[in-house]
Amino acid sequence: MAGTVVLEFPSDYKFLNTVDLVCNEVIQNLCIKHEIANEIAISVIEAVTNAIEHGNHECCDQNVRVLFQCKDDRFCVEVEDCGKGFDYQCFLQNIPDPTNVGHLRGRGIFIMKNMMDSLDFEMVPGHGMKVKLEKKLKPKADGDVQKD
């Protein structure tokens, strides 16, 4: 699709870094605050970690597809895997307490939900699960130091 950046790769954690590099390159062009850029990058890594681990079960024959797109004043990311999905409505209603150090896992969706302006899940028939992340883009305030 025109105006979008798409990255597709086998379900191996080693590509998380590639995703991060591409995400940062795309974000860099947006002229947004460093803090917001961080929140987007962190959330994308969480969504892709889940796609590799829970969606594709680290099966290298199955790809993860990440799509980056600007829509008006929103930065949108879609992460697609080839898995069966999960009962996200149920999970979203009972997100575990992230401060509970008795649990080592279960913070990814909490982080995405709290760092992004919108988090949606969708099953793509015949394909897999799609996670949709959106962040409103406020232009960078004066005096904000750009890190790069």
């Binding site: 954690y13 998380l16 870094n17 991060d20 460093h34 803090e35 961080n38 929140e39 990058a41 962190i42 890594i45 969480e46 970690t49 681990e53 992230p98 401060t99 150090v101 008795g102 080592l104 896992r105 913070r107 990814g108 909490f110 982080i111 709290n114 760092m115 890190k147």
Partner: protein, 114 residues
């Protein structure tokens, strides 16, 4: 992820290098922490200076180290936490759990204070 271990005033400093993201990293870390306890040491500073980024699975690894040390009567504290890792600590409120330092000597001294 690479881990190198050194000691300063009886405090173990673990210098991490790379990305902290789970997978094989979890096992490496678990072994490191158990070795530390077996050697009778329980004060650990994890130096994140060389860590580009971390995900929530990697955060789980740090939590595991933290609870292991606490159960052994010690503590695990963080050194050189980047903006990006700081954001994760804040949003998850794990900043209430982990003591963070920007200076190695202060991190080490914090154990000696009490």
């Amino acid at each position: 992820m690479r881990i190198e271990s050194r000691e300063k005033n009886g405090v173990v400093i673990l210098d991490l290098q790379g990305k902290l993201m789970g997978g094989p990293d979890a096992e490496t870390f678990k072994n490191t922490f158990h070795q530390i306890l077996e050697q009778g040491r329980k004060r650990v500073v994890v130096n994140l200076h060389g860590v580009d980024w971390i995900n929530s699975t990697g955060m789980g690894i740090l939590i595991s180290g933290y609870t292991t040390m606490r159960r052994g009567g010690g503590d695990l504290r963080l050194l050189h936490v980047s903006d990006r890792i700081q954001s994760i600590l804040y949003v998850t409120k794990l900043n209430l759990i982990f003591k963070c330092f920007d200076n190695e000597d202060e991190a080490v001294a914090s154990f000696l204070d009490g």
